[in-house]
């Protein structure tokens, strides 16, 4: 081994603690990167395989009742490869052991045997047979939530009649990788299940023989989906179609894609932050080493080592640390990706979701690490290269001490000598002090970014389900319900308050742009289902005209005062010209609102409702549930509290796992930064401190000077770090925003407090370590070295 390399290894072992700390920070960045990328390719791969092998449709459309022969005409639309008609109905679901009613989506299976599109993957049991009454396959997520096995039974209310369903198989479908009730609902695996039943049985149960009410299409290669959808709409319009839509509006597909986007964002933003911290740390440590080894560099150069050899020597040191961190990070990242993929398997129902190691990203990680190491230390290493040997021979000129600015305005004579020394030390090397402060601030910031996602999530739930909506239950009706039905419901024993809404599917056009959305007809001054803007202000639906949320207005390019044309996609399908009378800023979705009365008049209908909101006496909940279960015409019931709970158990769990990884890394980084800053302060001052010890100061007094400096840095860094963290969180929120939703920028005080506490704890631990080193300070050798 070259002696220069031996020096490298010995230097490295001297810097063990610091090197490990930096390697850990790099490892953290690389781990998040590799984890996110591997999880991304695994999930993307699982998704694509599932979609391809089980023929996930491209285009979907629902209608009231289409005659069988229409399907053939749909199949002939140019660009359509395969068309499949089916029956889809939402019905109430009664499961033993569950007081409240659930919702079942019943989907028909073709008679001819094999499904052509959206094929089922049976994980247990078998497909239902058409000649056996009441046989169904059920979605795995629902089955797992209830511990259902083939052979079990559940009941549904079909057309007001209770019907037993015998579960014969547990199934997965590419259409329901995750099952969420439409209409902005939360994923609720317990109260919402997908059931597949033979076509013949469903025709009989719903009186739909020779008809279908839902069609799914597979496009031919190169087909224009927009054209196909226009054609499809033309064909289906007479049968009550509310308009065709593509995969992007499939809730499950959306969810998976959002998760993928989140992984992509994770793979960029988090490693970017972590690796900049690592670069920064490398910079301070290597600058420090090079300053300390000034005279060694001089000797090497005097004896004929070239600038290149000396520069490479220090780069090797940096690369050794960096590559070590990178390897550790890669293995850890893959391990975490394996865990994450396993967890996804419980949440996203793919037939196989196997971990795929993304070789590209491992390669990229190596490249990234090298780049970060080089960028971070280039300045310092350059200094070692350009240092003229004659100059390096002389020790650095002694620092100039001047009465500092603080001292001029603040009578420091009143301060104890130790504190005065701390202040002067800090002032004498403003750049290094600023670097330490910035480093510790980064630690605080990283902790905030790592943990604020939960704050945002909790805020959103709170906003949506506590501040805005005050109902306990929401009901959806199969057909628009008349006022007498509503009257009955609102007078059920236990119902304290009720409100209704009229939702209608429509296509809104403005100039060349159009969008298919639901328009919600809301009553003025609602008490239960209220609308809030993103500033938490109560928004009143305008008396006339239409109110768009700003996301929708942006897509349409419409502003207040513009006249938009609204094609209603139901019943008489009237076309309305409505003035945009208001805009509202919301966190998610594309929404349009109208005054309910105004909507009725435009549709020339009576006071019907498609949904109702109920506030219920908590003691009488069960009675209300019993009533709802047997009432015809109710398609679904959402119980707010249980939905939130179930949501927290699923999405939140998923998110929390991610968050705990993030926090773990943030803690590693915080400790790495603080420890490094403390060690650097120690090595810079060990000679002064030893001199003081020799002069008779005791350990405590000497420690105060050093710990005082570290403490001072931390105190300045805490507020700065909170600010920095807030800014980074903001960047993260922007990065995660999609067309469907944006995350509010909410950072709770507890999160700030958490970040500060961790950093304070890291400071304390580093302080203890440094203090121990001071106690062991070798007075003689500290004085011997001329530094």
């Amino acid at each position: 081994m070259r002696k220069l390399d031996r020096k490298l290894l010995r230097d490295l072992s001297q810097l063990k603690g610091q090197s490990i700390a930096i390697a850990m920070v790099i490892a953290a960045g690389i781990a998040v990167f590799v984890m996110s990328m591997c999880a991304y390719v695994s999930m993307k791969g699982g998704q694509q395989r599932f979609y391809r092998d089980f023929a996930f449709a491209d285009i979907f459309a629902e209608a009231k009742r289409c005659p069988e022969p229409l399907l053939e005409r749909i199949g002939q639309i140019s660009g359509v490869a395969t068309a499949e008609g089916r029956l889809v109905f939402d019905v109430l679901l009664i499961v033993s052991g569950m007081q409240e009613p659930g919702t079942a989506k019943l989907i028909s299976l073709p008679e001819s045997g094999d499904q052509k599109l959206n094929r089922l993957h049976i994980t247990r049991g078998r497909m239902p047979e058409s000649d056996r009454t009441g046989e169904v396959a059920v979605s795995e997520m629902f089955a797992e939530a209830h511990g259902i096995v083939p052979g079990d039974e559940v009941s549904t209310v079909i057309n007001g009649r209770l019907q037993q369903l015998r579960i014969v198989g547990i199934a997965l479908s590419p259409e329901f990788v995750i099952q969420i009730q439409g209409g902005g609902g939360l994923p609720d695996k317990k109260r919402y299940g997908i059931f597949w039943m033979s076509q013949r049985q469903m025709e009989a149960a719903f009186d739909m023989s020779g008809a279908f009410n839902s069609v799914t299409l597979k496009l031919a290669y190169g087909a224009n989906p927009q054209q196909v959808m226009t054609h499809l709409d033309q064909l289906m319009e007479p049968y009550g179609s509310v308009g065709a839509y593509d995969r992007d509006e499939n809730v499950s597909h959306q969810f998976v894609n959002d998760e993928l986007l989140q992984l992509r964002t994770m793979a960029t933003i988090a490693p970017a932050i972590f690796l900049s911290v690592a670069a920064f740390l490398l910079n301070i440590v290597v600058s420090r080493i090079i300053a300390q080894q000034r005279e060694q560099i001089a000797a090497l150069k005097a004896f004929g080592y070239s600038n290149f050899e000396v520069g490479m020597h220090y780069l090797d040191l940096v690369l050794l640390i960096a590559i070590g961190g990178m390897l550790l990070g890669t293995f850890f990242g893959i391990w975490m990706a394996a865990n994450l993929t396993e967890m996804y398997q419980e949440f996203y129902k793919f037939p196989v979701l196997s971990l795929m190691i993304d070789r590209m990203s491992v390669l990229l990680a190596l490249l990234l690490t090298t780049l970060v190491a080089l960028l971070g230390t280039w300045h310092a290493v350059r200094k070692s290269i350009t240092l003229p040997p004659a100059e390096a021979m002389r020790p650095e000129p002694p620092p100039t001490y001047r009465p500092t600015l603080i001292e001029r305005f603040f009578p420091t004579e009143l301060l104890p000598a130790a504190l005065r020394m701390v202040i002067r030390n800090v002032q004498r090397k403003p750049v290094k002090s600023a670097a330490s402060v910035l480093g510790i601030s980064m630690a605080v910031a990283v902790l905030i970014v790592g943990s604020f996602s939960l704050d945002a999530l909790q805020y959103l739930i709170d906003f949506q389900f506590r501040m805005a909506q005050r109902q306990d239950l929401s009901l959806g009706f199969v057909e628009p319900a008349t006022s007498s039905v509503i009257y009955e419901l609102s007078h059920l024993p236990g119902v304290l308050e009720s409100e209704t809404t009229r939702g209608v599917a429509a296509r809104i056009r403005f100039q060349q742009r159009s969008k298919r959305v639901g328009i919600a007809g809301l009553i003025p001054n609602p008490q239960l289902f209220r609308l809030l803007d993103d500033q938490e202000n109560v928004v009143q639906v305008p008396e006339r005209g239409i109110m768009l949320n700003s996301a929708l207005a942006d897509i349409l390019g419409a502003e207040v005062g513009d006249l938009v044309s609204v094609e209603v996609l139901e019943d008489e399908r009237p076309k309305l010209d409505l003035e945009v009378t208001a805009l509202v800023n919301e966190f998610g979705g594309l929404n349009a609102y109208m005054n309910k009365q105004e909507l009725h008049e435009a549709l020339q209908e009576s006071q019907v409702a498609t949904g109702a909101f109920l506030r219920v006496d908590q003691n009488l909940l069960d009675t209300v549930y019993q009533e709802l279960k047997i009432r015809p015409g109710i398609a679904n019931v959402t119980i707010k509290m249980t939905a939130i709970k179930s949501f927290m158990e699923t999405i939140a769990e998923n998110m929390l796992t991610m968050r705990s990884f993030n926090i773990f890394f943030a803690v590693v980084i915080a400790i790495g930064v603080v420890y490094n800053c403390a060690r650097i302060s120690l090595s810079e001052q060990s000679r002064d401190l030893a001199t003081m010890r020799v002069m008779g100061f005791n350990n405590m007094e000497v420690s105060t000077i050093l710990l005082g400096e570290i403490g001072l840095f931390t105190l300045v860094a805490l507020p700065l770090g909170c600010l920095l963290g807030y800014l980074l969180a903001w960047a993260m929120v922007l990065g995660l925003a999609t067309e469907n939703y944006r995350i509010p920028l909410v950072v709770n005080n507890t999160t700030f407090a958490f970040a500060c506490t961790i950093v304070l704890a890291a400071t304390f631990v580093s302080g203890v370590i440094v203090q121990r080193r001071i106690r062991k300070l070798d007075l003689v050798s500290a004085l011997k070295t001329r530094d």
Binding site: K7, A299, P388
Partner: protein, 247 residues
């Protein structure tokens, strides 16, 4: 070996290893200019032992650094044999140092993370015709301490390791900047003995900076600097062995 024979041979041939012509060095520190060297003309001959004397700040280190290719003069030229050092690229200077020069510094400048032997090996690895590192250590009587780290050695021992390091490559010139500055008399003498042995046995042209006029007695020639100029050049008719120096 007889020192006087050597001297006779050196003065007879008078081959100049170094020739400095009108060398000046000006340091600019903001507004102020420091004239460290003001037109120095000096020659160092093959195999000779030269002592540089002078008050603090008189420019001794500056001159030595320029001769050794560690620094470049502001004006004037410096020749090593027939190489013009002042016209050399930094990389040529590096090679010049690598192949021809051995340095001994006042503060030793050993690599603390390497043992005595490894410090020597660090240099023999890049030298063209080095001696065995142990042999170099033996020349300064430190073969027994080869595996000690600098921190485990006394100041004098560290300086002897530094000398072993400097001579291990069999340099053509040995430049020593106050090699005894940090040492007591006895240790200083041991170190000087080592240097003069190398001068005598290997015929290495040797220049030693010192504040100590007594040391001048062991040199072939004594060059005194004062205020950046050569003040006096004196030839010793007789060289006194280091062990008989007193100060």
């Amino acid at each position: 070996m007889n020192a006087t024979d050597k001297l006779a041979g050196a003065t007879k041939q008078k081959t100049a290893v170094f020739r400095a012509l009108n060398v000046t060095k000006v340091y600019r520190m903001g507004e102020v200019q420091v004239h460290a060297l003001r037109g120095v003309n000096v020659e160092l001959y093959e195999h000779e032992f030269v002592v540089l004397l002078g008050a603090s700040g008189s420019g001794k280190s500056t001159l030595l650094n320029i001769l050794g290719g560690l620094d470049v003069p502001t004006s004037g030229s410096v020749f090593y044999l027939d190489h013009d050092l002042t016209a050399s690229e930094p990389s040529e200077l590096t090679n010049f140092r690598r192949d021809h020069v051995g340095f001994v510094f006042q503060f030793y400048n050993l690599i603390p993370s390497l043992t005595a032997r490894e410090n020597v090996e660090l240099i023999t690895e890049i030298a063209r015709n080095p001696m065995d590192p142990m042999e170099a250590l033996a020349m300064v009587h430190l073969q027994d301490r080869a595996n000690h780290f600098p921190a485990q050695l006394s100041g004098g021992e560290q300086q002897r390791v530094a000398i072993a390091r400097a001579i291990a490559k069999r340099p053509d010139v040995l430049l020593c900047d106050e090699p005894t500055g940090a040492l007591d008399v006895k240790t200083g003498i041991v170190v000087l003995e080592a240097i003069s042995r190398i001068n005598a046995e290997l015929g290495t042209t040797t220049a030693v900076i010192t504040h100590n006029a007594a040391i001048a007695a062991m040199a072939d020639r004594v060059i005194s600097l004062s205020d950046g100029q050569i003040h006096e050049v004196r030839e010793n008719s007789e060289r006194i062995a280091a062990s008989r120096l007193e100060w």
